[in-house]
Structures are given as structure tokens and as C-alpha cells.
Amino acid sequence: MQNSKNTWLSVLKKLLPKKRMKQQKYTATDIFAKVLYILAWFVLLLLAVSMLLMPVWMLLNAFKDPIEDMYNTNIFALPQTLRWKNFKAVFTFFEYFDFDIVNMLIVSVLMSTVKPFLSIFFTTCWAYIIAKYNFFGAKFWYSFGIILMILPVVGTGAAAMRINVKLGIYDNLFMNIITGPSGGFSGMNFLIMYAAFKALPWDYAESVSIEGGGFYTIFFKIYLPMVLPNIMVLMVLAFMSAWNEWQGYMIWLPSYPNIAYGMYLFNQKANALSYGTKEVLAGFTIAAIPTVIIYLSTQKIITSKFVVGGLKG
């Protein structure tokens, strides 16, 4: 009894904040704050466990035979045999449609690399000129960008749809990619790149100018390499966001599904085409693998570099 009490006390001690100076007396607020701290720790624990629960269930069931559920009610039981047929079923499902999983993969790769690259490149260019030059309109574009970030322009989708149809952009993969980098002077990415350029001194540019270097040399050979780490972080985030994007395809590119939209369609039509939960979960596993790998290999850079500032117009 005494032992278990000591164990609990040692766990509770571990839960308390580390960077804490010793005090003589505890006020009621201090005790209340400590209780809340411990309560919040349990909420964090519950949150973390619950986040793990569903992917584990997905992974276990992606390999299970549906018959296993009939005699084993433990939803987290290990699969008795690894049923690769579930994964094969994902590939055969798309044979019912005009597109297969290889085409979806190509669309995913193109839209997660080329489109974000163009978009981030032009955002970087905008951030550079606004942060470093006092050209005509610099202040206007900066303030306009901030206003656009804040101003909610609701319901322009219908007009955008009509314009996209008229210009041949609607349901056209190539046109969708090349018209992506519109208005790079607004948004979180712009603010991050703007802050990165603002932090760099102008002395480098002056030295290059003295040696005869021009506007483009200063940008491409001096400042662009210096902000490459920031660009890489934005590229990784943009890659993951574009890889996981699916609603945009549902609206603008219905004939060119990527892997994520393909999985949405798979989930939507699975029951009608006699596919069960196990096959659907196998599909989700396939879709999740690339982003999990990329996230895990770049997590440190993302969490350390991604800081957002304020919205001062």
C-alpha cells in the first residue's frame, strides 16, 4: 500500500513543471494552478493516446480478413495472417473508372511539386522586392496583401468557375498548374519569407553592386541561396498540403483525381461496389505512407522554423 502511494507521488512529482523555484508558502491560486496543470497533463495524455488509437486500428485492420471479426471481438487483435488481398483490391477498384492508381500518383506528384514550386518561387520574389526595395507600389502591395489575408471574400466560387470554364482552365491539369502562382504578396508564406529577407542585411547587395553585379545577380546569387532553408520548409509543408488536398480536385479537376481524392471516391463508392472496411482501410494506409515518411524525416526543421508573426498592415 505504502509502495503504491510512493509510486503515485513520484509520478505526480514528475508531472509538475521542471523550471520552478522553491517557495516557502503555497497560496490557494498556486494549488489550483497545480491541480489544473496535472489535469491538463491527463488531457494531453488522452489526446496523444487517442491519436494513436485510430491509425493502429487502421493498420491492423488493413491486413485482416473480414471473417476474423466474427470470432474475435477485440478490435485491436493482431491479424492472424497478413491479407495482402486488401491492398490488391484498392488497385482493382479503380479499374471501374477512367483513371488508375498510377495516373493518380502522377497527378499527386505533379501537383505536389511543380505547382507549389511555382507558387513559392513567386512568393519569394514578391517578399524579396517588397522587403528590400523602395519601388513604386511597394507599400501598397504589402498593405493590400495583409488586407487580402484578413478580408473574407465569400462566395466568388461561382464566378471563378464560369471564368475558369471560359478560359479552359476548368478540368485541365496543365492549365491548373501554370495558373497557380497568382498573387504571391499575400498569405502566411509571404509573411514568413518577408521576415526572412528583412532579417538579412543590405551590405551584401552593396558589395555585389560595387563589383558590377546587377539586380538579378543580387537576387539569384546572393539573397536566394541565403533563404533556401526557409524555402525548403515551405516546400515541405506545401508538398504535404498539396498531397493531401482533395476538395480542390472535386471542384476544379474532377477528371484528374490525385491519390487523396481517389481515396475519397473509394470510401464513397466502396459499399456500392461490395468493398468492405478492410479494403478501404488498406487504401487509407497506401495514401498515408508518403506524407508520414516526409513528415517524420522533416519534423525537426518544420517545428523549429515555422513561426508566424503578427498582422500589422
Partner: protein, 315 residues
């Protein structure tokens, strides 16, 4: 003086040449789309794709749809506001307190922070679809969450949760958005907290600022306030554009009125049904957008002004 103006012109030309392509695209897609949307609010799209002027009738139809028997617009606006307020308040309290724990290097903090990132790793779509399959059951195949709850005797053996029924839909969506919406906050807020100079904490401790509330309200929140306001203002601005997990939870379009939102209305009207997008309701769509922009635009700037006023004043 003349030389400096000439140099500024040259510099301006060079600057614009670097971003010319994106500037042209912006002019086409921003200005043309917005002007066209304003015009569309006063037009009707005919079956052949042409348009004809209809005056204020789109606006009239939009306001008529607020009455329960004529449309879902009232529910769409009300639900969007409910979802925003609840997720904002509960989400903020949760994210700030959990971020504080991570920042203070609590027991197993790094591991738990890593696990909370799972929704960011796996994609929101996959997480919401797994969640749906995890909590949604039928009479023949009960939901895994029901089996789990029955195993631990949280619910009766013959009970069913019916989490996606009209009655429970809003609670389920709110739970999902709050619980799974923490990933971004728990990535950025602790990073912002780490940016606070440790010397400030040390001197504050000497001054008697020692418990969680004092550290949060007197040091951390005032110092990371610009980051917080950025999230608050951008999420406030997106109230009527946020779709939530409605397409994932009701993939066949049978979204109950108790959870139908403006964002869902605006997105679903642009999707294909039977291989084509129905443009007949585009006029009302544009009218709804114009009315909401005229109301929510100033409201967002007012909100920004308010949260900035509420926060610490710069000296």
C-alpha cells in the same frame, strides 16, 4: 533629384519584371473574378450558359431561404457561427494550456507532442474518414468505438451511439474539430513560446510570478499575442468558408440540417452532379457571397481592432 527618380523607375521596372507573371495572373483571377461575382449576383444563368439581368431577385431568394420551410440558409449561417465560437473558445483554452505543458517540458511531453501531430502527418481527409469508420456503426456491424466502450462497460451492451444522427451530428462534428484540430496549434504555439527569452521568466520568478496562471497571463500570452491574433483573425475571416468534415461524414450529400454550414453550401454548389455543374443557382450563390462579404468584411476588421485593443499595448 532627377537621377534618383530615374533610378527609382529603373528599380521599379526590375522589381515588377521579377513578379510580372504572377501579377498578370492576379489581375485576371482576382479582379475579374470579384467584379464578375458582383455582376453575377444580379444575373440569372440560363441553361445554355448565357446570363440575363434579374435585378434584386437573387437577394430576395437568398433571404427567403432563411425561413426554415424554404431552404437551409438560416441553418447554414447559424451552424457556421456556432462551430466557430465553440471551436474557438474550447480550442484556444485547450491549445494554450497543452502548449504550456509541452513548453515546460512536462513528463513525456515530447512523445505526446509527437503523437498529437499524427493528424498533420496522415492528412485531414484520411483522419476524418478513419474517424467516421471508427465511430459509425450499423445494426449489423457495430462501430469499433461501441465495442471498445462496451468492453470497458462505459455503455450498456445493447446500446448504440448513433453519433451521426440529426440529434447528435453537431456534437460529433464539434468534438472532431476540437479534438483533431489541435495539431497545428500544438506545432506552432510551443515554438512561439520557446521564442520567449528565458531571462524574462527568471526575473519574473524573482518578482513572485511563479504559478501557471501568472506565467501564462503575465508573460507568455502577452509576448506571443501577435502570433495568436494572426490565427484568431484569419480563422474569424474564414467562418463562412470553412467546410469542416461534412463531405467526409456525409459523402452522399445527406448532411442533416443541424450541422449544415455555409462553407458546405458554397462548396457543394460547385461540385458536379451527374457529370456537370448545375449553374442555375449561381446567381443566388453570388448574392449570398456578396451579402456575407459586406457583413463579415467589416466585422473581421472590427474583430481585428478589438483583439489588438484587448492585447498588450506596444510602447
Amino acid at each position: 533629384m532627377k537621377g534618383s527618380t530615374k533610378r527609382k523607375w529603373k528599380e521599379s521596372l526590375q522589381c515588377y519584371s521579377l513578379v510580372l507573371y504572377s501579377l498578370i495572373l492576379f489581375c485576371i483571377f482576382f479582379f475579374t473574378t470579384n467584379i464578375s461575382s458582383i455582376l453575377l449576383a444580379f444575373q440569372k444563368v440560363n441553361p445554355d450558359g448565357s446570363t440575363s439581368l434579374v435585378g434584386w431577385s437573387n437577394f430576395k431568394e437568398f433571404f427567403q431561404q432563411f425561413s426554415a420551410d424554404k431552404g437551409m440558409m438560416g441553418y447554414a449561417v447559424k451552424n457556421a457561427l456556432i462551430i466557430y465560437v465553440v471551436t474557438f473558445v474550447v480550442g484556444f483554452i485547450m491549445q494554450i494550456s497543452l502548449s504550456y505543458l509541452i513548453f515546460k517540458e512536462c513528463y513525456m511531453g515530447k512523445l505526446m507532442r509527437g503523437l498529437t501531430m499524427i493528424p498533420s502527418m496522415m492528412s485531414g481527409l484520411i483522419v476524418s474518414l478513419i474517424f467516421f469508420r471508427f465511430v459509425n456503426g450499423t445494426a449489423l456491424s457495430p462501430a469499433p468505438i461501441e465495442s471498445l466502450f462496451k468492453h470497458f462497460h462505459f455503455i450498456d451492451q445493447d446500446a448504440t451511439l448513433n453519433l451521426f444522427s440529426e440529434k447528435n451530428a453537431m456534437k460529433t462534428v464539434l468534438f472532431y474539430l476540437i479534438w483533431f484540430g489541435n495539431a497545428n496549434g500544438l506545432m506552432m504555439i510551443p515554438t512561439a513560446m520557446n521564442g520567449v527569452n528565458s531571462e524574462i521568466f527568471e526575473s519574473a520568478q524573482i518578482d513572485g510570478c511563479v504559478n501557471m496562471f501568472q506565467e501564462l497571463f503575465h508573460i507568455i500570452i502577452p509576448l506571443i499575442y501577435p502570433t495568436l491574433t494572426t490565427f484568431w483573425v484569419t480563422s474569424f475571416a474564414g467562418v463562412f468558408m470553412s467546410v469542416g468534415p461534412l463531405f467526409e461524414f456525409w459523402p452522399n450529400g445527406d448532411v442533416p440540417k443541424t450541422v449544415y454550414t455555409m462553407g458546405y453550401y458554397l462548396t457543394s454548389k460547385l461540385t458536379q452532379t451527374n457529370g456537370a455543374v448545375d449553374q442555375s443557382a449561381f446567381g443566388v450563390y453570388a448574392a449570398a457571397g456578396l451579402v456575407l462579404t459586406l457583413i463579415w468584411g467589416p466585422a473581421t476588421f472590427l474583430f481585428k481592432w478589438f483583439v489588438e485593443k484587448l492585447g498588450p499595448q506596444e510602447e
